[in-house]
Symmetry: C2
Subunit: 513 residues, 2 copies
């Protein structure tokens, strides 16, 4: 009969089946999976055409020398995914519902980087910004945090990980189950927001209620979030010059227009900002400890800045990245605390006083922006991991946090004094320090060096991280030649050894210049 | 002498000092801090004018009845912050460097929500989008994850928190210190990327190398990240209709133009998408288990979708949010695995198979987009917390992960059967289930109900979460009336009780309609 003839003609041959299903009995992949993948690949690569009938599962098992169960498993999966169709009484067929041209579709299980055609692979404007950023991104200086002299790297040897591990483990086993589910507040775990608000009021003169605290994954996340809520593409932003590269990077990738505003011994030169961009939308500042120069924004400048922001309808981003570490007297009051017009978004981080891989920080936002920042947080990734927030709240409230800061202040004073002493002894006048009364790094100017990047490169060859000061400038014309040296991460021995290496590098670098 | 006369004239009086520094000896705030705050406030509120001389620290201590040390501490802080100035031999003066008009500046230590003037408080376009989203945001149905019937809520009672707590605590005490510092890879902790790549290749037929895995904070974070890299404002996006509200929310807030594409028993109707928006930039799909209807994207539609994307230069966002839970046979192969043109960005999450508050998920991105996605991740918040990633890698590699999934499949089958059985018994034909062979929820159509929101509202009054099916539609004209019921979170008893409540609600709701 014709019907039978057709079926016979279209039934796949035994030897052909063996060639398309090359079983490897040594592989970790189960046999059913290998049968499935072989047949699927044959269909997608059109070696098995639509309408072809497969042998019965009993015959298939014989041909491939596997159990019938293995075959049934594979066939069922291929049916569930639409590659095969069963017709009652007639058998199992390759689907006829696939298009003839399967050019952009493949069954091969390994990744391939070849692109089948020239159709454009379009990114967003932001995505193109990221790509440009990639092309000119300098080597990250923070990849080896324990080597001298990566700025901002805390001394992790001294962190009480045993206490922290105990707190975390306890909360994983004691928090109510609802706290592990969806629907946690976008602004953060409330007891942590309370603990932070209390800490900030007492130690930084920040004016805030717990609701104004938005928990984020570190200060970079805070800056990013603020740009999303406050900045449109091409908006002008005052940027400290020199300034923090991380903030510049974010502002550039979100296509803000950076207006360099110079910094002197009193911090940001507000008058220059007003002259250059009176209608900027935002000013990024580090008032307590200017990054990288180390100066403090003076009181008259603070007031001038707030008054400008109020007049211009601008926002102030106060990045208070390391001011827990002030070595004479108490930490300075935050700019936020003297701003009655609620123009300041204050950013703090636990990366410095706890450890960077914790990824917790916070914003203090004006009361009328609380809701919109909470939504912006939620859009990025719903809410923050809960257990680390709960553990941190207890860590603060039980006094571990203040104790650790007090202890680290002493450790860091010794390290700072070692760095300054060794430089005075081995290098002398060729390196002149900026302010040294706060923070985790010191900026130095270099005498007799025309290009500080040469020093950085030669230090890198000796395993030393010594970021060039000029690299933190937005424009090379005004850049001063110097180095920005972190002293908090390395041991005293490593600091001493590092300074000796620098001492050897400098004469070479000045000969080159 | 005139000089003395001036100083005397301008020296603040003793009684006045007592009035501006109201000490509270019961307060938790240290006395030095109270002195500091009182003087600071008096200066900022211009009760103490520039040039006024303060009494000596000894006199001040007497006047205020505090120790001299307390006064010295306060004065030093005020000097460091620029409120006071010392002149050698002449004493301590209020700074004259402040402007006369201190209208927008305040020293009051408590937050205030009054805004000093009408200067506009401008948000970005995105920020305004967030604000609009706030205004129309429906009540979150996931706030009570353990109540029936929140969709997507895992059964947290069964999660091995004791194993997890042990792993986390161990890694906090055993990972090398460098892993706690800055400079971790933006794409994620490499051993976790390896473990995920291996898992996806074996169980989902995803074609990938570890480098293509980008660790993110859950699937919402993954969707958000993809929109940042791939979408410009006003770009067209195909959105499944009905579809996942979380994705719609993100796409709306980033100002994408949503093109509703209807869904039937074979999933997304690709032809309708092509007719409505042939040049869309992106298609958002849930091919393994359509949210909320539960259908599987058929093989012909998969191929049609990939071929369209390649022709149009579009991207496909494959959200594979719960396909680990397939109750007959093995999980279905991912769309990503048949796409040779590398147009698919695959999104997976650990929120369902681990727990939501972990905040870990991943993207699988095409090889040529790895770098730009890594940068985009870094811009959002540098890198993900390291210890949970390390613990999760071990959890997967040591088999805890597969074991938990196998165990939960059995638990969830029993729960699904309970839900379906109870509904058949107590409610019958008025609720008709969609596909039930996979996932963590079932969608039902409602017979004889004109407005499913009434059912949702009345169920809510009885403490039951029963999201209306119509709410997942982008346009109300095509919306079907029904309910989307999660069955995985609640206990068997809670499911039974919940169905009885629903059974009581339905007659009321149909009378109202």
């Amino acid at each position: 009969m014709t019907m039978t003839g057709e079926n016979i003609m279209h039934t796949v041959s035994h030897t052909y089946l063996l060639s398309i299903v090359p079983l490897d009995r040594e592989s970790e992949s189960p046999l059913y999976r290998q049968v499935y993948e072989g047949v699927r690949h044959a269909i997608l690569s059109q070696q098995l055409k639509g309408g072809v009938r497969l042998p019965s599962t009993r015959d298939l098992a014989d041909i491939l020398s596997v159990s019938r169960n293995t075959v049934v498993n594979a066939i069922e999966q291929l049916q569930a995914e639409g590659y095969l169709e069963s017709r009652v009484g007639a058998g199992t067929f390759v689907t006829s519902r696939l298009p003839d041209d399967l050019q952009y579709v493949a069954g091969a299980p390994v990744a391939t980087t070849t692109y089948a055609s020239g159709a454009p692979r379009r990114l967003s404007r932001l995505g193109i910004g990221y790509q440009r950023f990639l092309e000119r991104r300098p080597v990250s200086y923070s990849e080896k945090p324990l080597r001298p002299f990566a700025p901002g790297a805390p001394d992790l040897n001294a962190f009480p990980f045993h206490i922290w591990a105990r707190l975390i483990a306890r909360y994983y086993q004691s928090l109510p189950l609802e706290r592990f589910g969806y629907g946690q507040p976008g602004g953060g775990y409330y007891p942590l927001r309370q603990a932070i608000a209390e800490y900030l009021r007492a130690s930084r003169a920040v004016r805030c209620e717990p609701e104004q605290i938005i928990i984020v994954a570190g200060s970079q996340a805070g800056i990013y979030l603020a740009t999303r809520v406050l900045l449109n593409t091409d908006d002008q932003v005052w940027m400290e010059n020199p300034g923090y590269g991380g903030a510049m990077g974010i502002l550039r990738t979100v296509s803000a227009q950076l207006v360099p505003v110079p910094v002197d011994a009193e911090g940001l030169q507000v008058e220059v900002g007003i002259a250059r961009a009176p209608n900027a939308r935002l000013a990024y500042v580090t008032p307590s400890h200017q990054f990288p120069l180390g100066s403090t924004l003076s009181l008259p400048r603070r007031i001038q800045l707030i008054q400008w922001a109020e007049r211009a309808g601008a926002w102030i981003l106060e990045d208070d990245y390391d001011s827990e570490y002030r070595y004479s007297g108490h930490p300075l009051a935050a700019l936020q605390g003297v701003d009655r017009s609620n123009r300041v978004i204050y950013i703090g981080t636990f990366s410095k006083v706890m450890f960077p891989a914790l990824r917790l920080g916070y914003l203090v936002v004006p009361p009328d922006l609380v809701n919109v920042f909470e939504i912006a947080r939620q859009v990025v990734d719903q809410f923050m991991p809960v257990v680390p927030q709960a553990a941190l709240a207890e860590f603060i409230m039980e006094g571990h946090f203040s104790r650790h800061i007090r202890r680290m202040r002493k450790v860091y004073i010794e390290k700072r004094d070692t760095l300054l002493g060794e430089i005075a002894r081995h290098i002398g006048d060729r390196m002149r320090p900026g302010p040294t009364d706060a923070g985790m790094h010191v900026s130095f100017t270099l005498e007799g060096i025309a290009d500080d990047h040469i020093v950085t490169a030669q230090a890198a060859r000796r395993g030393i991280v010594a970021p060039a000061l000029s690299r933190f400038y937005l424009e090379s014309e005004t850049a001063r030649q110097g180095l920005v040296l972190g002293f908090t991460g390395p041991s005293l021995d490593a600091l001493q050894a590092g300074v000796r290496q620098l001492g050897a590098v400098l004469p070479e670098a000045s000969r080159r210049a």
